[in-house]
Symmetry: D2
Subunit: 417 residues, 4 copies
């Protein structure tokens, strides 16, 4: 057991922090200005992407690629502390080609894509030339139970015919977004159980019948790249666009979600660290009733609770990343549920405290706090609502205990009857 | 002791509910459409105001007016359950001329205005011809401690010269807004203690030097009437625009806040009832893992907790209203702090649960939930942050116990030493 | 609506407080000393009972008795504030013949007893000559679902034959305890539904086969009067000992629980007030890091939160009492669940804070805090665990909404599709 | 970074678990029986100690001893998972000579004792021949601020004269307890600051003037070895009994507390694991309203929350142990505060949930739950109350931010003014 970062990781952290300080943060005001006008700052982004790639800070997220593919080869445990650094700024991950949902989509294509699919989509994604989105959540059913997903993917000769409605399809209005991976019901095997009826299909976004309805604001926040509501109306793609095997959609989804959730969670840790640091700065700088806010015991309690909660959450995430590296994504399924649950609730808690220390300013877009809070609240749904993760963890715990029933018997002090 | 509404109140509740159902709610979609385009739906509002006034549903909030002034004469305890009904819809109060901050401003003018001030401002406000705003919170200091307020109101001959910056000035961009009541430091008496240095002055909004910087979004929500940042730059008004006495700004603020906070709190209760009702409807209608959400014990717990928390909060608010009616606003000062604290925290709790039951839809503007949550979070600052109210309540409690020290002595079981 | 106590109630409060100060509290040290030796201080109790009865402070709890029965006739709403006063001291209620479980048992006998049963048991109970206990909870099943109760009450000619095991039978080792009312399965009608299979029977405690196994400590606290585990082994009583009708045990239990729960809850309010007062006294008297504890913002927060939570809980309890007086116990069923839930959780919260302010002394029997906490934790089970009450409240809420489905429709802002 | 236990640790875990199953747990009923009679089961304990030592499971806690001293040499990180196993049973640590407060006392003697002191006390302690206690907390002052400690240790020629009162002196009534290490004010240097006025002195418990007043129950729990109130009345010991240097009492206390707190926390983790396992077993075995408790979503939530909270707390404790091993106890001071805070609150939370799943049985001594809860509540004071640790953590956090003020500036989106 060892709780220190390796030298390799420490060096990458240092390099990434320096890049953020030297190049990304100084561009933030401009990014805010342009997106505030409803535009996507492609020139700014492309410039920074070029610089990052030149420094080798590129595709840091993807373990197990062939050596001749672009980017650094890192384990999940090595990537996690870097995701934390990028996470502090909402738009930084794209600079390093490490942004969701493309990272997950690249992993899917890497693991399950045919050579043709890889050539068409994985390579340009790895090069950062295009972006992609992922159509999962649906407005009309409780997606907490993913078997409710009902978009129809019907075989019609050499094609699939896709009909359905998705929302919270992140990235769909990004100017470079060209591909949507969609999850739906194929139902070729009418006897299949509820977890073997779904498949994933690659849909180029210029396919007729695919349309973006709107960029759905999340708690009134309009993401520049969009969390979109999209419609598939008689969308027709060749059967060669099937990703993996028919009926294996859930298996693919699971494969996709493990590392993606670790990334999400580590970005959250970074955001919570930022919120805590801002909270401390504000508390040190404001005076009420003759004292600095930092001298009030309740403010101190919030700071200390945030510190211990963040530290614990980070450790849990890192252990999950380590477990994935050691035993594979499947073995870490429950651990990944745990970190998703913990991280999302952490963000709402810590940012809420920061807002309270800021006073009314914390409600305003002058600070990143509303967006951090917004995102934290939304995270309690993304990749499954809290309740699904709680259920997963509890069922695992109960199943372990069920196999050892009676093990606590000698701890009781029962009177003789 | 009697927990039933009087017949008079029950009849008014019935009448108001009917009016809401018949006239206001059917107009909501249109209101949403127009404000969504960045416009203020004056025609729609004016039409409904006419209908409401014709039915006598007008100025329900203002106790103690002379009989010849327009509107119904109600005690705080009578008005509270009506505010609850109006509160369910963000824009409904204006229809009945019962909206903040005008209600508080009308009370101020009613209590402290000169005959000329009343003629110029109170009458048109009571008639619903103009609207007004209130400049209190400042961006540059911790307004939690109101003695930090630093806008300068300097006597200059027969005029006051006002310089400063305010934000969260609600209503300032409403098309009919004509008056801003501003709080600042007059400092005519350099020996005065920190609570006797501030005054309130009436500033017509067309006075040169007064300008609106922006409508500050609250958690990314842009209120149609605005929570504005405004600047006073060498704003010059005659000394006759002083409201009440120089140096009595805090006393006026206290007088203003009592009933206003009761209104706020009762509107919150209404919003929480709406959120609870929506939560139940959603839980009854959605299925996950083979069961309706309403059959899951954790969802049931949220519903039940919301019910008992709302009921308790309502009783506390009604008791504070009753106390104000019985003993005056000053006697209820700590009780008003208590309801403000309780109501704001209630709203974030109940609405958060509703959002969780809704799933991702609860994050979207398709439901009122984001705005309800936004407003609840902001309420934890409006009229003073939670921490100020907690402090007020604690100090009162401690001062009572201090006077009776030792009263618990006989409850101890101390061993003899 | 009126939140003031009537003159009648205020006078009784004053009288009871004076009696507590003059007679009961001065005897507390002696009561602690005697019970600390494992004895029950009957002489001390009897002396105080005589004094209380002489002042008319007797049987304050029982509404609706005939005028010629001993004691004052009070409504639930009138009794509640008196129960609060008695509740501050664990053993005070007995002085006024207002202690559980006898109050509930007297109500049962009053409502459902035959003239013979009343003569044999109600009269001596009202006179305070004997005490009684109530056998409900069973160790071997989840009593949260009361239909699980399985003690057998089998008809055998003119007798019932009772077999089973109960625990948390309060008062069974009180020196004057002579009667146990036991709940069990009669099952005369094999077709009866789960809620019509149980009955209540009066069992004199000297009946052969009835035995007390032990006084079960609650969180290591041994109540002097006992929360006992008792056994019925072929206990034989005449059929005339049936209380009410066969198969109506649940209906009787419901009738019994309403006022009893109000009493419990008001006693809890009294205990929470005591804990809050002790917390304030301690905070005012202790110094750490150069300040009185009462000057630390976190301690102030605890005090203020306790105040607002107590006030809200009291109002909810009083409203439930009022509702029972106005509409009957049955109409207040859900309200009674709500107060039981709220009061039990309140006590653990407030006392926990008091303990924290006390420091390690709060863990010791030198203060009443451990027993207050113990009792609060146990209350979360007595009269049904929290989860049963949450379920009851949620189902009621859902059933109301189910009848009005769609009522929130116009509050949505759904986009046109 | 590596989250796996080493082979050495895994082997020790296995060995210790086997010993617990084979020898300790089978003796628990007898231990409960004997201590229930108010006696200390020395024969039982001694027999098990002999067996444990024969297997080399002895003095596992003490890092850095000379090779010729008895016991295994383990780092904190290696010992922690073993403390977790012992912690599941309140009395198990003594079997392995790993019990508080002797472990801390042995560390003190090991680090600061003179050769004579070591010969007299450390050797017999390491051999398990005697036990010792530690006099720190005082009843008359707020010990949360340790500078309040006021027991007087006055130089009188070649002796110290000690006067004062301590409580929560653990172990003082253990039959083998022979030594009390007492902390008090020496005040030889009247100019010394508040943290340089205290010293520690070794007091053989048969010294005249030392007496045990009582075994103070903690939340009504009487520990068999005692948490005692003790008096020093003109206790006279030679100056050679001074431990370390005069005025360095706080420095010694800090040295003592680091590893001791890690042990406490890991034992807590073990107790929480036990409570969680019992909760799951109970939930799987009980039926209410037609379902097993384990199928209710709220019970599942408690189980899952307990799991993620325990896992996070364990990681935090292990990291603190690792840090102590890497950088020394002083460097880990704030980390140790963090684990103490987290562990104590964890125990009350997890055990409270277990009690709730158990129903009323969870209140009884038939289960270990009341004692586990009791201990958890008390832990919120032992080694400093929560508030002191929160303060320590916050001040550290603030001091780091203070050195880097402005680092968050570029994350703001401030409008130009």
């Amino acid at each position: 057991m060892d709780f220190g970062y390796t030298e390799k990781v420490s060096a990458l952290q240092e390099k990434l922090l320096t890049f953020m300080d030297d190049h990304v943060l100084p561009a933030n005001a401009e990014w805010v200005r342009i997106t505030g006008q409803g535009e996507y700052p492609m020139a700014l982004i492309d410039d920074l992407k070029g610089k990052a790639r030149a420094q080798g800070l590129w595709n840091l997220f993807l373990p197990g690629l062939k050596a001749d593919e672009p980017g650094v080869q890192l384990a999940n445990l090595e990537y996690a502390p870097l995701a934390e650094i990028m996470g502090r700024l909402s738009w930084a991950s794209e600079i390093f080609n490490c942004n969701a949902p493309d990272t997950g989509n690249m992993e899917l294509l890497h693991l399950f894509g045919t050579p043709e699919q890889k050539a068409a989509w994985l390579t340009p994604l790895l090069e950062g030339q295009v972006r992609s989105c992922f159509g999962m959540t649906e407005p009309d059913v409780a997606s907490s139970d993913a078997t409710n997903i009902s978009t129809s993917i019907r075989r019609d000769g050499d094609h699939y015919l896709i009909n359905g409605r998705k929302w919270f399809t992140t990235g769909a209005i990004h100017p470079n977004c060209k591909l949507c991976i969609v999850m739906g019901v194929t139902d070729s095997d009418p006897e299949a159980n509820a977890h073997s009826r779904h498949s994933m299909v690659l849909v180029p976004m210029d396919t007729p019948g695919f349309s973006i309805v709107r960029n759905v604001p999340i708690m009134n926040h309009h993401a520049p790249e969009g969390h979109c509501e999209v419609i598939f109306r008689n969308v027709r793609v060749p059967v060669s666009n099937l990703l993996g095997t028919e009926g294996k959609g859930f298996a693919l989804a699971q494969a996709r979600l493990g590392p993606g959730r670790v990334h999400h969670c580590m970005r959250t840790i970074g955001q919570c660290e930022l919120a805590l640091e801002m909270m401390c700065e504000r508390a040190l700088g404001r005076v009420a009733f003759g004292k600095h806010l930092s001298d009030f015991a309740n403010v101190q309690d919030w700071i200390a609770q945030s510190r211990v909660e963040i530290d614990q959450a980070r450790l849990l995430v890192l252990r999950a990343a380590w477990l994935m590296d050691q035993k594979g994504n499947a073995a870490a399924r429950v651990d990944v549920s745990a970190i998703k649950l913990v991280a999302a609730q952490l963000q709402t808690k810590v940012v809420d405290r920061a807002i309270q220390v800021f006073g009314a300013m914390g409600l305003t877009p002058d600070t990143p706090l509303p967006d951090l809070w917004t995102w934290g609240r939304a995270m309690r749904f993304f990749d499954g609502p809290d309740e699904v993760h709680l259920r997963t963890i509890a069922r695992q715990e109960l199943s372990v205990v069920r196999k050892n029933l009676g093990r606590t018997a000698l701890y009781y002090n029962l009177p003789t009857r």
